[in-house]
């Protein structure tokens, strides 16, 4: 069986500065895989490359066996790859409902879209209560919910979440992580980028630790959670 997503020796550069220096990992269907590491490790760059916003300078990306290297960004989502970007990036002056509809931009099954909007409201009731409100008026945590709901609207085979807990209160962070766990239990395949290594590794089937553009350590979520070097570097233990 081949993996849903296969990344091989991926290299990405901003001009002369190499941000990702040849990383390889894969994501199987139904799995949660996490990339953890400090700021500037190349995690966000990796996700932005997977969704076509950045072009790799080397390596391979295969999704369902098909190379993504030459696919423009706006065609990636139709292949089944949805990306909830770092910093949420909801459309602030559009309503919550229009934001969700944009997540289904390329779909034409009206009934299915309405059904999925209702499902997003079931998952995040606060969004349903405020459906006609401009998305920019939501709190950070609510915006994160909207960004995740919007990404799900394309019915992705792989959901990429970039720093979903960034800047959130501890309570809101727990809520978001609980939602990710719920999505996992429903069988959603997730590639999760997080600075909150503890939370991410507890959820993940597999994890990869990134440092300055390289994957320095890989393992199951549980193994990494108990790895001494990981605990020292990322979980704040001496």
């Amino acid at each position: 069986m081949t993996a849903l997503l296969e990344v091989e020796d991926l290299k990405v550069a901003y001009g002369k500065i190499q941000a990702v220096k040849g990383i390889s990992f894969s994501v199987d269907a139904g799995e949660v895989v996490t990339l953890i590491g400090t700021n500037g490790a190349g995690k966000t760059t990796t996700l932005r490359t997977l969704s076509g916003l950045l072009k790799p300078v080397g390596g391979q990306i295969k999704f369902n066996g098909k190379s993504l290297k030459k696919v423009p960004a706006h065609k990636i989502v139709s292949l089944g790859l949805a990306h909830s970007p770092e910093g949420r990036h909801i459309f602030p002056r559009m309503t919550i409902e229009d934001n969700l509809r944009l997540g289904a931009f390329l779909r034409s099954d009206k009934q299915g879209i309405e059904q999925d909007i209702r499902r997003a409201y079931d998952l995040f009731p606060i969004l349903g209560e405020r459906r006609k409100q401009a998305a920019g008026t939501l709190s950070g945590g609510e915006q994160q919910m909207l960004a995740m709901g919007r990404a799900l609207m394309s019915r992705p085979q792989l959901l990429m979440l970039d720093e979903p807990s960034m800047g959130l209160s501890p309570i809101m962070m727990q809520k978001i992580m609980a939602t990710i766990a719920e999505l996992k239990s429903q069988g959603t395949t997730i590639l999760l980028v997080e600075q909150n290594a503890q939370a991410a590794l507890s959820l993940a089937d597999h994890g990869h630790v990134m440092e300055v553009g390289n994957i320095v350590l890989s393992g199951t979520g549980r193994d990494l959670l108990h790895d001494e070097s990981v605990r020292k570097a990322y979980l704040g233990e001496d």
Partner: protein, 310 residues
């Protein structure tokens, strides 16, 4: 002062014409943050497209009621082709360049289009008479309306309603809003932002073409530099309404038209200001209004709030 209704009507009509052209400035700015200074020439080219249909396509003596829709189509085709060409060959190669580069390109393109029409369009070195709608003026509630302005009265609201429907209710319109607010994220949603940019230019050109025909009917003549001052005024209207906001463009246009008309009509009645009353001061009032807005409400009347850009 019983001519006030007349002046208000004049101002509204003039303002709707500004508004139609202002839409193009504001839409392109909203999506690519470019002030397309060649947009006044898109308006001018529209008027020439219309007159071309009249002079070279339709048989002589065709009734204006038949000719006008065809002329409008000719105007739109001419404007849209030039706008799309400008986007493709002048602006797209400069995407990602410092913002000064496309701005200077726009000014250059504006001059190039004027000169091209001057040099190559038959007899365009002097003013060309624009065909007029048959029939005399009529009056409503104390105001006289010229026959040529009927076009504007019908076309401006239809254009506005179409635009609002398109932007708010269609999928492409939503893609356009998304691209304006966050282009990278719009791509993640599957929006082909390159296509959206072309559509924005084309749509702006369609309304400029409507404005070009309206101007020909209103003034009875067109020339290669008709887009210059009108372009500046329409740009003023766009800034006045809040650049990037399509409703603002129309409202800004109307406010500008009314203020300019009323100032020209009444300022000479104020003791000591009688020498400022002539038509040649109209531009001055328009740009004074712009300066006041920039000083006291730089985001424009309906401007986008800066806070939600966060």
């Amino acid at each position: 002062m019983n001519e006030l209704p007349q002046q208000l009507v004049n101002g509204l009509l003039l303002g709707s014409m500004y508004g139609l052209v202002a839409i193009g400035y504001t839409m392109v700015y909203g999506i690519v943050q470019l002030i397309n200074f060649a947009h006044g020439e898109i308006f001018m080219v529209g008027a020439f497209g219309a007159i071309t249909v009249h002079l070279y396509v339709l048989p002589d003596g065709t009734s204006m009621w038949v000719a006008l829709p065809l002329m409008l189509i000719g105007a739109m085709i001419a404007s849209v082709l030039v706008a799309i060409g400008a986007e493709r060959f002048a602006y797209r190669p400069l995407r990602g360049a410092p913002r000064l580069a496309p701005l200077i390109t726009a000014i250059g393109l504006s001059l190039a289009l004027q000169q091209a029409v001057w040099a190559f369009y038959p007899e365009a070195k002097s003013k060309l008479a624009f065909p007029q709608i048959e029939g005399g003026p009529f009056s409503i509630g104390g105001a006289t309306i010229q026959t040529g302005d009927i076009f504007l009265i019908v076309a401006a609201p239809i254009s506005m309603a179409f635009l609002a429907y398109f932007v708010m209710r269609t999928r492409t319109g939503r893609g356009m809003q998304a691209t304006a607010q966050d282009p990278d994220t719009a791509k993640l949603m599957g929006v082909n932002t390159d296509r959206i940019i072309v559509i924005a230019f084309a749509l702006g050109a369609v309304f400029a073409a409507v404005g070009g025909v309206a101007s020909g009917l209103k003034y009875g003549q067109i020339d290669f530099k008709m887009g210059f001052i009108l372009g500046l005024k329409a740009f003023t209207a766009a800034v006045l309404g809040g650049i990037g906001n399509i409703y603002g463009a129309m409202i800004g246009g109307v406010v500008l038209g009314v203020v300019e008309t009323l100032a020209t009509a009444y300022i000479a009645d104020i003791p000591g200001l009688d020498q400022f009353g002539s038509q040649s001061w109209a531009e001055v009032w328009a740009f004074i209004l712009l300066i006041l807005v920039l000083l006291f409400r730089p985001q424009g009347l309906l401007g986008e709030r800066v806070a939600d850009r966060a």
